[in-house]
């Protein structure tokens, strides 16, 4: 498949990541997808359900993708030597885990839908592990997204209204943060909307709080580069 990435992958993406074997697409990429779900949940997970696209469902066990997905979703890094024991660790933490097969449509073979729940919050992502540990998350909590986890990113959930984008970007400019790319999607005009802003440098808690207090902002999340 001739994938034209919207951005060139970096040297460190190609010559990496440092990871637990045996497969960058089945182990490292899947661990990072689990980690994205964990970071978006932003809470201690109590239950996580992995819905695997059929080709991944057929191959995940032999590659340790089950350990990797679970490892990521309890916050382990791809190079954490505890990944081979992640399921046992998660069970000890009382995490409920399920794996099932689900046809996710015309997507990359290694695609998974992850539902993760904490005590009072929940999150859902759909993403693909496209090789070499590189991931593409294209759905976040039901919104279209273009999340790759390769730069610091703001994920903003808000009520759609005119002027929202300029208010947010004005704050970012005032904080002297450079925007690498901006992507918006919404479920319906004037209803729930989503903005993903990839930035060049980390966002401070103070800056995040400012963005979070913009009128009609439901939730402002900041994710660091996913290791």
């Amino acid at each position: 498949m001739a994938v034209r990435h919207d951005r060139k992958v970096s040297i460190l993406d190609v010559m990496g990541p440092v990871m637990v074997g045996p497969s960058s697409s089945h182990t490292a990429g899947t661990a990072r997808l689990g980690r994205v779900a964990y970071e978006i949940l932003d809470d201690d997970p109590v239950r996580v359900d992995f819905h695997l696209h059929p080709p991944l469902a057929a191959t995940y066990r032999g590659h340790g993708s089950d350990f990797a997905l679970v490892g990521g979703s309890i916050g382990l890094n791809v190079d954490d030597p505890r990944i081979p024991e992640a399921i046992r660790i998660a069970e000890q933490m009382g995490l409920e885990i399920s794996f099932s097969e689900e046809d996710l449509g015309d997507v990359h073979p290694n695609t998974v839908r992850i539902e993760i729940r904490g005590a009072s919050r929940e999150a859902e992502i759909i993403g693909s592990s496209i090789g070499g540990g590189v991931i593409e998350v294209f759905k976040i909590n039901g919104f279209q997204a273009r999340f790759k986890g390769d730069s610091p990113t703001l994920l903003l959930f808000y009520r759609d209204r005119p002027g929202m984008i300029s208010e947010v970007t004005a704050i970012i400019a005032e904080e002297a943060i450079n925007i690498a790319s901006l992507y918006c999607s919404r479920k319906q005009r004037g209803k729930d909307a989503f903005m993903q802003i990839d930035v060049d440098s980390p966002v401070s808690d103070a800056a995040l709080a400012r963005i979070g207090s913009v009128r009609d902002m439901r939730e402002a999340k900041y994710l660091d580069r996913i290791p």
Partner: protein
């Protein structure tokens, strides 16, 4: 942004290729060159570590491989190998890394885990045998990564997308460019080294037995590490690829598309469906089912006990 190898050849003429890549990466990804070098220093150390751990071997997760590195190392240490030390070490280090990978050890995906033995096999063996400054190896990793990032603009780096040419083939091209760089080659020579390495892996299918990154992957890494070294040797002697690198990458993408699904990581063709390959796959399946049944029984027993206790 460097969008093609033709452009790279122009941009890098008369310049240090690692510097060219560091500069563009800094512009595109806002990661300072010093940070990239620091990260790659650590990654080189992980590779070295991995080689040391892997030399002694050990059974893989799928139990199909694990002792290749130990056997070759024993032969080498006792003077029973007949190839030159550089070649033997390239094979040995690639096997060692892949052995670790198959045991869920910590490795560097370069560019993938399944092809992760090729680049360290080539570069670390060369560093030792030709007494290259380790810092130069780090910069060769920049070169290898940069070459891979241009390939990744048009080709997805995974066996599922285009077969093993997209993984081990790409790794040997990346490594070949790195080797030419370490030996003092020009930008053009690095590109031709990559071109000759990649060109001669076109058509390589991905047919892992039982769907595991073990057979043929582990040994394939060793053989293609040597393949990449020979491509770099030709380039350093002034041999050039007739077909330009950009067109080779295009050909790779076309071939990958033409490959039937069964030869793209699905374990439904090639070596995976030979008599032996199928028997192994069946055994793996049976064992997994037995384990699952055992677990279910255990759960039932625990539930019974809970009931009994109440």
């Amino acid at each position: 942004m460097i969008e093609s190898f033709a452009q790279l050849e122009q941009l890098g003429a008369g310049r240090d290729l690692a510097d060219v890549f560091l500069e563009t990466d800094e512009q595109e990804h806002a990661v300072p060159a010093a940070d990239i070098l620091e990260a790659l220093r650590k990654r080189r150390a992980v590779m070295r570590d991995c080689v040391e751990r892997g030399k002694s071997g050990g059974t893989s997760m799928g139990k199909l491989v694990g002792h290749e590195a130990r056997l070759l190392n024993e032969a080498f240490q006792s003077g029973k190998t007949f190839l030159d030390p550089l070649t033997v070490k390239a094979e040995l280090y690639a096997l060692a890394v892949m052995g670790e990978n198959s045991r869920m050890g910590v490795i560097v995906a370069a560019p993938t885990a399944g092809a992760g033995g090729v680049v360290p096999g080539m570069l670390l063996a060369l560093e030792e045998e030709r007494h290259v400054d380790p810092e130069k190896t780090v910069r060769a990793l920049v070169v290898a990564g940069g070459i891979g990032s241009i390939i990744a603009l048009s080709a997805s780096i995974s066996g599922a997308a285009g077969g093993c040419q997209n993984e081990v083939g790409v790794a040997s091209a990346m490594g070949a460019a790195g080797v030419a760089y370490m030996m003092g080659g020009t930008t053009k020579q690095s590109i031709h080294a990559a071109a000759m390495a990649l060109k001669n892996t076109l058509g390589l299918v991905c047919d892992p037995v039982g769907g595991l990154v073990e057979v043929p992957c582990v040994k394939r890494n060793a053989l293609f590490a040597v393949h990449g070294l020979t491509a770099a040797q030709l380039a350093m002697a002034g041999v050039e690829s007739v077909i330009p690198m950009d067109e080779i990458v295009e050909a790779m993408v076309r071939i990958g598309r033409a490959l039937p699904r069964g030869l793209r990581e699905t374990a439904e063709g090639g070596l995976a469906t030979t008599i032996t390959g199928s028997a192994i796959a069946q055994r793996i399946k049976d064992e997994a089912n037995a384990r699952r049944a055992e677990k279910a029984k255990e759960r039932e027993r625990a539930a019974q006990e809970r009931k009994g206790g109440a």
